[in-house]
Structures are given as C-alpha cells and as structure tokens.
C-alpha cells in the first residue's frame, strides 16, 4: 500500500578540468530530499572559484518543484553568471516540471514600493490619516443628524421593534454584570475609606463618600465602560460583518438609509437604557457600602440609608444621569462608526470591535474631564 519510497538523492561533485565544476545528481530530488542535498552540496562548493559549471540531472528519477528550486539554488551557490552554468541530462519528465514552475523564465513583477522609512514622511502620512479619520467622523455625525431629521419628518420610518430589542441586549442583559461590579465597587470604597475615617471616629461619613463618589463620577463612568465593552464592541462587530458581506450595500440599494436602519435604533436604545443602568449602578454601590457599614462599622441600616439620602443632591444625581446619556451617545456612535469603517476580511471585524471599545473609553474619559471643567466655572 505504501507508495514507492521517495527519500534518497545522491550527489557527486568533481572538477574534471581546472576551473570546471561538475555536479551530478541522482535519485529523487523531491520535497523530502532537497533539504539534505542542499545541506550537503553547500559546504563543498563554497570554497572554490570556477569559470564553468555543469549540473547533470540525468540520474534523477523524480523531480518536483522543490527539486527545481534546489537546482536553481545550487546554481546560485556556484556564484558565477548563469549563462556559464549548464543544466544537462534533462529528460522529458523534467522538462514538464521546469515548464510548470517557470524555471529560467524571468517573470518581472511590479513590486509596490514599501512604505518609506523616512520619519517625516511617516509623520505626514499619519497626520493625513488622522485628519481623514476626523473628517469621516464629522461627516458621520452629520449624516446621523440628517437621519434624525428624516425620522422627525417621517416618524414611521424608524424601526421601533429594533429599539426595543437593543434596549434588551444593551440594558436588561447588562443588569447582572453592572450590578455585580457596582456592588463590589461600593464594598471596596466603603472598606478602604472606613480605614481612614475610623481614625477620626467618622464612620458614618462612609455613607456620604460612597454615595457622592458613585452618583457624581463612578456610577456613570463604570456603567459606560461596561456598556462600551459589552455593547459598543457588539455594535461594531455586527455592522462590520454586515459591511464586509455587502448587507449594508443591499440595504442602501433597497432604498433604506443605513444610518437610520442600523445606527439610530442602537443610538436611541443606548441613550434610553444607559442612564437607567447608571441608576442601578448607584443603588447597588450604595447597597455594597451599606453591607460594610452595617457589618463592620456598627452603623444601623436606617442610619446608613438616611445619611446617604442626605448626601445626594437631586441636581448632582441628574447631572450624573445626563453625563451617562452623553456617554451612551459616544458608545453607540463609535461602535457604529468603527463598524462602517471596516473593510476586508475576518480580521477587520476584530479590529473594528477593538477600536470601538478603545475609542469609546477614551472619549468617555475625555468628555468626563470636560464636564468636570464645565462644573468648575458653572459654580
């Protein structure tokens, strides 16, 4: 059952006349033998200088493309002009293999020049890229605003069923993870701050610390980061897959506005549910703080809750929820934008998802610091 063995190839190197090299190969010069042959031939011809060379392949039974490669490599090893190296003993079978591998046929390829290593050129290229990305982002936002205008004029063109579905996947499905993370966060803040406050006998202010930190900053930011990781990446992956499989183009030629069809339902769903998730996050964190307060700090449950309620101002709560809805817009926009920018194959889907999350988190932190500055001057 085993095929004829194809694992021996012998070679003989001689110099019949001064300045002439004679290499004869015999056996099977194929995929499994070329390595040994090349390793064997290389040290023997490396040291000498020749004027002519003959490579005799008449003893070769089986030759394949790896063998052809070996022959041309041996020719390179000899190191003299190709016209002075003869390949002799070519049988019709060898000829066929030479033909299909384009042996000795100089196919000139136009090679695209590699990117210039010049740092100024590179800096220029990436500046242009960044500028084009920015222009794309602005025109994308503009297109979304146009789509919103269309929805205002024709409210029935919006796909309400999709909004409800995305509210579920973005919001309801995220409650367990947002709840768990916030509960832990509340526990940690309460535990760490109690270490400091105990010294002054100010245990009760743990409640203030947890409530104010969560409602003003951590609640909106943590929720936004979780949603960016869960849903922003999902938006990017979904839309980029649709883009590369021409589904987006199909929507366009059927007369749909892809932004209205794909982006607005996600955007609206995110803006509606992220503040609600943030509210959940605040409540779970305060519950986490209460666990520490009641079990470790001897603060009564009702005292802890009353203290928290007093610490939170309605305006701060609303400001936090407003921030979280801005974050929701950022998450949905970057997710969809990165999805639409995808081109190519499977790798671009992964890139789109990664870049959606990275961009969204950066923008969340950036906008949050802008909001902090606004509050300083607001008074």
């Amino acid at each position: 059952m085993k095929p004829d063995s194809r694992d021996t190839c012998t070679f003989e190197i001689s110099a019949p006349a001064p300045g002439t090299l004679h290499i004869s190969l015999a056996g099977d010069l194929v995929i499994d033998t070329v390595h040994k042959v090349l390793e064997g031939v290389r040290p023997q011809i490396g040291r000498h200088l020749f004027e002519n060379a003959v490579i005799d392949i008449s003893g070769i039974n089986h030759l394949d493309d790896y063998g052809v490669m070996a022959i041309s490599e041996i020719r390179n090893m000899v190191g003299i002009d190709e016209s002075r190296i003869d390949v002799t003993g070519t049988s019709p079978e060898h000829k066929i293999i030479f033909d299909i591998t384009d042996f000795d046929r100089n196919t000139l390829c136009q090679i695209t020049p590699p990117a210039s290593p010049n740092i100024i050129v590179q800096a220029g290229a990436s500046t242009i890229n960044a500028y084009e990305g920015f222009v794309y982002f602005i025109s994308f936002v503009g297109a979304i605003v146009m789509s919103v205008g269309r929805v205002v004029r024709h409210p029935r063109s919006l796909r309400y069923g999709d909004i409800v579905m995305y509210m579920k996947t973005t919001g309801v499905d995220a409650v367990p993870i947002v709840g768990l993370i916030s509960l832990m966060l509340g526990l940690i803040i309460a535990f760490v701050s109690s270490m400091q406050l105990k010294v002054y006998g100010a245990n009760i202010y743990v409640a203030n610390l947890v409530a104010v930190a969560m409602v003003q900053e951590l609640g909106p930011i943590m929720t936004a980061i979780v949603v960016a990781g869960r849903s922003g990446s999902a938006y990017a992956a979904e839309i980029s897959t649709m883009k590369i499989s021409e589904e987006v183009d199909a929507l366009f030629v059927m007369g749909f506005d892809p932004n209205l069809f794909l982006v607005l339902p996600r955007l609206i769903a995110a803006v509606l549910v992220v503040p609600v998730l943030t509210m959940f996050s605040n409540i779970f964190a305060i519950a986490g703080g209460a666990i520490i307060g009641v079990t470790m700090l001897d603060v009564g449950m009702d005292t802890y809750i009353n203290q928290s309620m007093e610490a939170i101002k309605l305006f701060e709560l609303m400001w936090g929820l407003f921030k979280s809805s801005v974050f929701a817009v950022l998450i949905a926009l970057t997710g969809c934008l990165r999805g639409f920018q995808a081109q190519g194959g499977a790798a671009s889907v992964g890139n789109a998802a990664t870049s959606a999350v990275v961009t969204a988190i950066f923008l969340i932190i950036f906008f949050d610091s802008m909001f902090a500055v606004i509050r300083i001057y607001w008074g």
Partner: protein, 253 residues
C-alpha cells in the same frame, strides 16, 4: 500500469442527531485519477468530503487514506497523513489578514526544514503553477473570486500532496474562469500525477475533467450511480440520474 488504491471509503454512515445524511457509502479512488463526487444541493457531497479529510467523524464506517484508517489512527500518524493531502475549500478559505504569498508559505514554513531564504522562491513557483505569478503581495480581498480559488489551490498544493480534495472548485465563477480552473485541474493531474477528488455539481466541469464519478442521491442518501459521467448521462436506467445530467428541474417529475 497496475492501479493502486490510495483512498477508500467503506460503508460510511453519517447522521446529525437523528437525521440520516449519508447511508452506506463505499467507493475507492486510485492513484493518479480524477474522481468526481456529484449530486444535487443538499445531497451530502460536502459532508462526505469533510469526512474524507477527517474534519468530522462518521456514525459508522471507515475512511482509509493510503491504507490508514483515519478514524482509528493515533494523532501523530494522522498529522503526517494530513501533509499528504491538500484541501481547497468552497470559499477558498484564504487567511484574510495575510497576503497570498504568506498564505501559500504558511504550511511550508510549518512543516518543512527549508532555509527561510528559499521560501519566497518556492512560493513564486507554486503561484506560477496556478497562473498567479506576481500576486504574492496582494491580500485575498484585493483579488477576484477565480484568483482566490487559484491561490487556495496553490496553498493546498504547497506540500506537494498526493491527494487533492476540491470542494466545488468552479462554484460562483463565470464560465470562462470556471473552464480555466478545470484546465488547471487537468494540468496538475497530468504533470504532477496528483490524485484529485472533486465535489461538484457543475456539469461542464464534470464532463471536462471526470473519468470516474459517483452520484449521491438526496432521497435515499446512498450512491445511486457510478462510472464514467458520459456513459451515465446517456444510458443510466434511473431517471433521477438522467435528469441531473439533462438539467431537468427536480420539481418536474
């Protein structure tokens, strides 16, 4: 020249949960021939191919490649066996993030002890064999469907396999490009002596390249015809087989 068998399928039965997909399939393929597996959509052609290359395990029955039973052999033998076969998938399955040249070089770098300086040269040869010289630097999404098939073929042939499995090599191609692929298949078979197993329902390529074929039936899940496709077309007594070759709609009968 005595014909040696290099692939044998014995009483293969495939079942997905409760549904019978293939029933009692037996045939053998000789070294150096082009063997065609044909049948309508949903007849289990591609499933049969997936079982022949060990991607899936049959409910019962055996597949022998070069005399080795692929479902009962140890992993090392199976890995060595994989180097002796090449598969061209329906969608070409080129890795999208790598250039054509890198795709072809992938199995060569992994499985052969060859000086890395020589890899570009062998890749160039493989690509010129399929008529794609000078396309090393292109990404798969930059070339046409026919070129992708050729590139996939070059990658399947990277390690000079004894058996090439081709899943619908001409699907989704225009007639001219499809004919070009058929020519290439014949050329590879003639010059390199590679055994080729083709899954297809493209009548033109069945008649162009096939000397021996089996036909799978969607209803009985068995082989309903085998032999030279030209003879089957003219003189097979089963109307299903004749209808397949006459392109008669299945809903007519």
């Amino acid at each position: 020249m005595p014909q040696t068998e290099c692939l044998r399928v014995e009483n293969l039965v495939v079942r997905y949960t409760d549904e019978l997909i293939l029933d009692d399939i037996s045939f053998s393929v000789n070294r150096g021939e082009i063997f065609i597996i044909m049948g309508g959509s949903g007849s289990g052609k591609s499933t049969l191919l997936r079982h022949m290359v060990g991607l899936e395990m049959p409910a019962s029955g055996h597949v022998y490649i070069r005399g080795t039973n692929i479902s009962s052999t140890d992993e090392q033998t199976f890995m060595n066996l994989l180097k002796k076969i090449g598969v061209l998938f329906q969608g070409s399955a080129l890795i999208g993030s790598m250039t054509i040249g890198e795709n072809v070089a992938l199995p060569i770098i992994e499985h052969l002890k060859i000086d890395s300086r020589l890899i570009p040269q062998i890749v160039r040869m493989k690509l010129s064999m399929v008529g794609l010289a000078c396309f090393e630097q292109h990404l798969p999404n930059e070339i046409s469907g026919g070129m992708k098939k050729r590139a996939g073929l070059a990658r399947a042939m990277a390690l000079n396999p004894e058996i090439l499995f081709l899943d619908e090599p001409s699907a989704g191609l225009d007639p001219g490009t499809a004919a070009g692929i058929d020519e290439l298949i014949l050329h590879i078979n003639r010059t390199l002596g590679t055994t080729i197993v083709i899954v297809t329902h493209d009548l033109d390529s069945i008649f162009t390249v096939g000397k021996r074929a089996i036909m799978l039936d969607i209803n009985s899940k068995k082989i309903i015809a085998q032999g030279d496709p030209r003879t089957l077309k003219d003189s097979h007594d089963n109307p299903i087989v004749r209808n397949f070759f006459m392109r008669k709609s299945v809903h007519d009968s």
